[in-house]
Structures are given as structure tokens and as C-alpha cells.
């Protein structure tokens, strides 16, 4: 394989991983906008999405399509339950408590997953058969198009939700100013619940579509969450579009770095990006410094 076709191959692989980071980053952004909480359990939604998808299609023998919806529904319910049982009862909690409670949630989800599925990674057959498709010297598995297509649909859906529906606009209002939103009659608490459910479902979708490519095991969550967060910060925390662009960017960078430089330090790359952004420009590539000064945390 020539160098150019190798680079093209890495680029496409990066696009694939990047769509997962973009979805995780989007999940972070939605909860952050509604509540100013960083949900450290975000990666666990992805992990659960993958493992429940495996369980429903491989063990329960449910058709792929139905299994997918079942998975998303189960994880969404878990996200809502998490908000009701852990976040909702806290009143006037300090920031540290809020961070640690989402951490506790992530450990709890991981513990449950380990109990149910053990420590081994699980695979999933691709969503459709078909031969690998050659493009410019690179070969692409059909699952690649599923990942990209479904990610695109999710992004479109989210865009529609935030820009064209009343609930979405209400959520946007909460992110600007929760007190003002309450004054115009928006039920802020309900929006918090909605944000957790929505980002759980986005996480579940990410987990379900990536498992045929990368396998899934119980402790995959934290690293996914960290990289997703790196994307959210790089894009300017709170900005949905920024998170998506940065997610793809980090995925491509990581894939190129792993292929051309060193695969051992692959995971460190995104974290370096995260630290450097935090140190140099915490407001991210697309955020303004003034805006981030005004934020509560």
C-alpha cells in the first residue's frame, strides 16, 4: 500500500472514530447546557449501548433493526433514572459533589456491566453484509457507511430538535439563563431530565454503531468520555457545532498519529490536545473568552 492510500485509509478510519467522539461530545454539551454539569458517566452510556445491542441481537435473537431501537430505549431509560435518582435529589450541592456524583454513577454502571457481561470484549456482526468497497486505494467496510450515515441522521435530528421544536427551544433557553427560562414558564427541572435522557440515547446510538468495528467491553467508558470531553472543550464547551467538528478532528488526528507515528501513544494524543487547549485557550477553538467568563462554572 502506498503512503497516500495509507493516509487516506487512516483518514477514513479517523472519520469513523471521530463520529463516536462527536456524539459523545454532543452528549456532554447537551447536559452541560441544561445543567452546567459535566456528566462523567457519558462514556458509560456508549458502553451500555454497545453491550445491550450485543445482548439483544446475539442472545435474545431480536432482529438488528428492532434491537437497535430497544437498546436506545433501555439506555435512555437508564439515563433518565440516573437523573431522577442521583442528580435530582441533590439540592444546593457544591460543584465537587456534582462532579463526584456523576463519577459514582459511572462506577455504578461499570460495576453492573461487569457483573452482567464479565470482563471480556464482545463483538457484533456488521449491520449489513457486502464486500469492502475500495476508494482511492483505501478499502472501506460497509459498516463505515452505517456509522457515518447514522451519525449524520442523529446530528440532523438534534439540529431539528433544537431549532424547530418547542421543547428544543426551551432547552436552549435554559442553557442561556435558567432563571430567566423559569420566569417565562419553562419547567427547568423537566428540561434537565430531558437533557440526560437525550444524551443517554445519543450515547447508546454511538455504542451500538461502533461495536461491530471496535468491539465493546465494560471498562471502555472512561477513555471514551475523556476523548469526547476533549472534543467538547476543543470545540468550545457548550457549542454543539463546535463539539461535532472537534470530535471529527480529534478522531482523524488520532488515527493519523497512530498509523504514522506510534500506536502506543494513540490514546495520549487526544488527552494532550485536551490539556493544551485547557491551558492555552480554555474557551476552545470556536468559543469566545468573554462568553466563557460569564458561565456559572
Amino acid at each position: 500500500m502506498s503512503l497516500t492510500s495509507q493516509i487516506i485509509q487512516f483518514f477514513f478510519t479517523g472519520l469513523n472514530v471521530g463520529s463516536i467522539y462527536a456524539l459523545v461530545a454532543l452528549g456532554f454539551t447537551m447536559i452541560y447546557n441544561a445543567t452546567a454539569i459535566i456528566n462523567l458517566a457519558q462514556g458509560e452510556f456508549v458502553m451500555l449501548g454497545g453491550l445491550i445491542m450485543v445482548f439483544s441481537t446475539a442472545v435474545l435473537q431480536i432482529p438488528m433493526f428492532l434491537g437497535f431501537f430497544l437498546t436506545v430505549m433501555v439506555v435512555t431509560t437508564l439515563g433518565a433514572l440516573f437523573e431522577r435518582l442521583a442528580i435530582h435529589p441533590l439540592k444546593n450541592a457544591s460543584l465537587i459533589t456534582l462532579i463526584i456524583i456523576t463519577l459514582a454513577g459511572s462506577i455504578l454502571f461499570r460495576g453492573i456491566a461487569m457483573l452482567l457481561w464479565g470482563r471480556d470484549p464482545y463483538g457484533l456482526p456488521p449491520f449489513s453484509g457486502g464486500k469492502p468497497i475500495p476508494i482511492w486505494g483505501a478499502t472501506l467496510q460497509p459498516q463505515f457507511f452505517w456509522v457515518l450515515g447514522i451519525t449524520g441522521l442523529v446530528l440532523l435530528g438534534i439540529w431539528f430538535f433544537f431549532n424547530r421544536t418547542l421543547a428544543g427551544k426551551a432547552m436552549t433557553a435554559c442553557s442561556f439563563n435558567a432563571v430567566a427560562a423559569r420566569l417565562v414558564g419553562i419547567n427547568v427541572k423537566k428540561m434537565v431530565l430531558l437533557s440526560f435522557s437525550l444524551s443517554a440515547s445519543v450515547g447508546a446510538i454511538a455504542g451500538a454503531i461502533i461495536t461491530p468495528i471496535t468491539l465493546m467491553e465494560y471498562d471502555r467508558g472512561p477513555l471514551l468520555a475523556l476523548k469526547g470531553f476533549a472534543a467538547a472543550v476543543l470545540g468550545g464547551l457548550g457549542s454543539g457545532a463546535g463539539a461535532i467538528v472537534a470530535g471529527f478532528l480529534i478522531g482523524i488526528l488520532e488515527s493519523l498519529g497512530a498509523g504514522l507515528v506510534s500506536s502506543g501513544y494513540k490514546d495520549a494524543l487526544a488527552l494532550f490536545v485536551l490539556l493544551i487547549v485547557l491551558w492555552i485557550k480554555p474557551s476552545g477553538l470556536f468559543g469566545s473568552a468573554e462568553e466563557s467568563e460569564l458561565k456559572k462554572f
Binding site: 442521583a86 462532579i99 456524583i101 459514582a104 488527552l271 485547557l278
Partner: protein, 318 residues
């Protein structure tokens, strides 16, 4: 140091000195107390950072690892004297903490949490990848035990050595808390802006306490390496970092005593869960969640409040 603290400290010291006789020199029980001492050193530092300065660190196992690897590598491969290696570890931990802490501690809460998480993960990857030095994922073995005048320090002697460090650092921490620095830290915790307005250089104090907590962790790491003589990256990854944090939070970050109680509970917990390894992670998550929801100030403060309420109601009914 306050008088009440002094009495508590003397009581614990008395129990530690007697402990080898209580367990009749049983090596297994002694090793548990050694680990408790090592963990306590880390959590004391973390408690100063969290409970007093109000900052969070999700990457403290990295400093623990720096201490352990410097001691391990320098003594086993380059035959340095353990004391020299010990100080080199401390120096590097402090250096890393300073350069990481200075930009990171300017950030607001969430960023600080994730930045330390990322930093810890980077060190975990480095411990794994620098295999010509660290032995990679399969670990570093052959770390020499400590000797004093030709005598190997092990068992009860090592227990006393570790707890000697614990008490030294405990006294130091208690003095820091009740000094000008301690008051400044609490002011920063209460409100950084207000503290700044009163002339407290919040940024400087935060970096100082972060470096101090890294030094504690490095000391603990060196003691750990020479005790078990074999180290591998899994002891310095994300889960150990979270465990240290959990010890502080469960006991109560508000006081050093709370952190020590949490350390004792969580260090001995795996011994109770023996045979139930699959439930371990679930148990940790459940306990942490329950404590946060029902006793947000930690078990020590929660118990105190509960006791107060019980005495009040019994007094009323009398």
C-alpha cells in the same frame, strides 16, 4: 495543632504500636495495616487539596506512580541508594505537579477535574509504553527491600516505618491547617474572589497545596515500591486515582480525620468482599453514591450529626 487532635493522634499511635501484638505478628494483617498507612499518606495530601483548598484531582495515582517508579527503577537498575531515589521521586513529583498545576488550577471546577483525569491517564500510558525503563504492562520486579545497618526492614519494622511517616505528615498537615496557609486555603474554598479581595493570593496557595499533595503521594509511592518489590502500571491508573478520591469523600473531605476514616474503610473493604470480586466495582459505586446522597459531608460528619440528633431526642423524651 489543637489539643483534641493531639489526643486523637496519640490514641491512634498507641493502637498502631500495639497492633503487631494484637494480631500476634500475623504477616497478612500487618501487611493490611502497611497498605492502610501508605494509602493514608496519599489521602491526607488529597484531603488538604479537596477539603481545604476546594480543588479536585482525579489523577493522583500518577504522582503515587512517579514515586514508586523512581524508587523502583533507580534502586533496581541503577543501584542508587533508596534514600536518594526517594528524594529524586519527590523532586520530580513536585516538579510535575508545579508545571501541571500552575495552568490547570486557574481553571474552574469542571475543567480541573477533567484536566487531572487526562493528566493521570497520560502518565498511565507513559508507564505502559516506556517499557525499557518501567517493564511496560508486565511490570517492574526485583525492587530491593530496605535495609538498616545490614538488617532487612520487613514486617513489624516496616509497619512502624510507614506509620512513622504517616504521623510525621499528619502532624505537619494539622499544623498547616491551623496556620496562616490553612486559613488562606479555607478562604479560597469559601470564595476565591472574596479571598483575593482580602489579599490572599489564591492562585499561589492552590499551586502550593497541589505540589504538597503530590509530594505526599510520591512518598507513599516509594514506600509502596519497596514494600511489595514489584510494581505494574495497573496500580497507578484511573481506578486507583478514583479510589484515593473515594477514600477522602466517603470519610469526609472536611477534616483530615474523615479522610483517614474513609481510607481505613476502603482499604479493608476488599478483605470483606473476598470471593465476591465481581461485586467489588458495583459495591464501590453503590457506597460512594449512597454517601453522597445521604451524608454529603462524609461518614464521620454524618455519624456526628446522627449522634447529636439521637442524644437530643433522648434528652427531650426524658
Amino acid at each position: 495543632m489543637k489539643r483534641k487532635d493531639l489526643y486523637t493522634l496519640l490514641l491512634i499511635a498507641f493502637l498502631i504500636v500495639l497492633y503487631p501484638w494484637i494480631v500476634e505478628g500475623n504477616e497478612y494483617f500487618i501487611s493490611i495495616l502497611v497498605f492502610l498507612g501508605i494509602n493514608s499518606i496519599v489521602t491526607m495530601g488529597l484531603c488538604l487539596l479537596m477539603g481545604y483548598a476546594g480543588q479536585i484531582s482525579l489523577g493522583h495515582a500518577a504522582f503515587f506512580g512517579i514515586g514508586a517508579y523512581f524508587s523502583g527503577i533507580l534502586t533496581s537498575q541503577y543501584s542508587y541508594h533508596p534514600v536518594v531515589a526517594f528524594f529524586v521521586g519527590i523532586f520530580f513529583s513536585a516538579l510535575v505537579a508545579f508545571f501541571v498545576g500552575k495552568p490547570t488550577l486557574r481553571l474552574k471546577g469542571h475543567y480541573m477535574a477533567v484536566a487531572t483525569l487526562g493528566f493521570g491517564e497520560i502518565f498511565f500510558i507513559v508507564f505502559n509504553e516506556l517499557d525499557f525503563l518501567t517493564g511496560g504492562p508486565s511490570g517492574l520486579s526485583g525492587i530491593p527491600t530496605l535495609t538498616f545497618l545490614g538488617q532487612v526492614i520487613e514486617g513489624t519494622a516496616y509497619l512502624y516505618l510507614v506509620w512513622g511517616f504517616v504521623f510525621l505528615l499528619l502532624v505537619f498537615s494539622l499544623n498547616v491547617i491551623n496556620s496562616r496557609v490553612g486559613r488562606a486555603l479555607r478562604a479560597v474554598h469559601g470564595g476565591e474572589l472574596a479571598a483575593n479581595a482580602m489579599g490572599v493570593d489564591a492562585a499561589r496557595y492552590k499551586v502550593q497545596v497541589f505540589v504538597l499533595s503530590a509530594v505526599y503521594a510520591s512518598i507513599a509511592g516509594s514506600l509502596y515500591a519497596h514494600f511489595i518489590t514489584f510494581i505494574s502500571p495497573s496500580s497507578f491508573g484511573l481506578m486507583p486515582s478514583i479510589m484515593f478520591l473515594m477514600m477522602v469523600v466517603i470519610g469526609g473531605a472536611g477534616t483530615i480525620w474523615g479522610a483517614l476514616l474513609g481510607t481505613a474503610v476502603l482499604t479493608s473493604l476488599p478483605e470483606y468482599l473476598r470471593g465476591l470480586e465481581d461485586f467489588e466495582v458495583l459495591a464501590y459505586g453503590g457506597i460512594l453514591m449512597a454517601v453522597l446522597l445521604f451524608m454529603p459531608q462524609g461518614v464521620l460528619e454524618g455519624m456526628r450529626k446522627l449522634l447529636k440528633r439521637i442524644t437530643k431526642t433522648t434528652r427531650r423524651s426524658l
